[in-house]
Amino acid sequence: MYGLYPDAEQWRINTAFLILFAIVGVSFFVSEKLKKYFILFLVFVFPFVGIKLISGGSFGLEYVESAAWGGLSLTFIISAFAILFCFPIGVILALGRRSSLPAIKYISIGFIELWRGVPLITVLFMSAVMFPMFLPDGTFIDKLIRVLIAITLFEAAYMAEVVRGGLQALPKGQYEAAKSLGMGYWRMNALIILPQALKLVIPGIANTLLALVKDTPLIFVVGLMELAGMIGLAKTNPKWLGMAMEGYVFAGLVFWVICYAMSRYSQNLEKKLSTER
């Protein structure tokens, strides 16, 4: 559950997740208007509060380096961060790829194709091992953060292509109608194009995000242990000897539950939005 995180400090992870679940839970019962603020808080404030709480180093909290983070909580942290950031980046890349400005268009294409063409394992190795060598002496970026950025950008490239599929499915008339009403590029995309395009590709988005969650175990190659990795480690512990099978079945089950929940959520979302037609 907590990996190598110090036992005495585990309450900090618990608190972080409790806050998370409390917010999500409460947000189901409050009015639409309040919900907006809850979501804004969740997206822009909570991640930093949560990380501070877990990593410590100030407010009298003892510093726990990210190498000691692990287990299921790490699975959640990585998935949540990557999902949160790969989505907007993917949308921007998708718009960029269809931009009429050649510079933006080719940068976007280059970026997407570069990340799509490289296996995730390679990307992880590069971020963990090679990237620090290029940094000037004295600068240091935490390994977990490097890996997070790598996964986020990797998944953003896939997200971009999914979103582009939605953009291309929209009839030209929607763009023309928006323009003829005097909307500029950003308003047209934010109000008319993206709401429709994203709705069209909810299944594809869900697919990409599920793949992301299931890719998190790969971070073991750079020495970070999330749930599955932790079980690999635990089975060498005499206390857990012979329990490897149960461990992996448990891990599989946990992943399945997470992914099934996400898939159900996406189906509900689809249904809810489609009735508005």
Binding site: E176, A177, S180, L181, G182, G184, L191, Q196
Partner: protein, 243 residues
Amino acid sequence: MSKIIELKKVNKWFDKFQVLKDIDLEVAPQEKIVICGPSGSGKSTLIRCINRLEEHQEGNIIVDGTELSESTKNIEKIRAEVGMVFQQFNLFPHLSILDNCSLAPIWVKKLPKKEAEEIAMNNLKRVQIDDQALKFPGQLSGGQQQRAAIARALCMEPKIMLFDEPTSALDPEMIKEVLDVMVDLAKGGMTMIVVTHEMGFAKEVADYMIFMDEGKIVERAKTKEFFEKPKSERTKLFLSQIL
């Protein structure tokens, strides 16, 4: 009288294919002009150049005192003054009819939501579908959708309205309800350029008729003259086919 739209020697190409050839056109405020001509003659392209959904390569297009060119900074401002109604309606399917109408006034004109919705309801009443305001476009008939699209354009309080074959995608029994709205609009003094083959409508409201063929304006005449004694053979042939 000063002109609100002026086109001078406008030429336009799609790759090597020339769609518009030396188009000259002037429209005074409150004038109604009907453009007809065979399919592919460049009618849509011509009116789409007026709000720069298409770009022309040669000549000048001046709309309400502003020349349209690559360096036109505020093309959005011009477009906000020029309403357009499309053959395929192009309503926003993810928004209610009311939101379709109030969206641009809120986000482009920066009106308060309440005021924008009031304007929207007034225009929906004008096209007689205020009872459909909370429905979504997919729940309306073709005629209702096109009337909603007209209301949406009117909500921006445009100085000019462009219509590109507004009734061509409609079943016959719905054409009249849309034409009635357009006649009403014309009587209210709107400046209108209408591409249509509804000659009854043209005779009722048009000040001038324009006949286009192969990218050229073949004939431009007062409505009465145009129908009674067209000058060009091609116009005669065309009129004999559609009347």
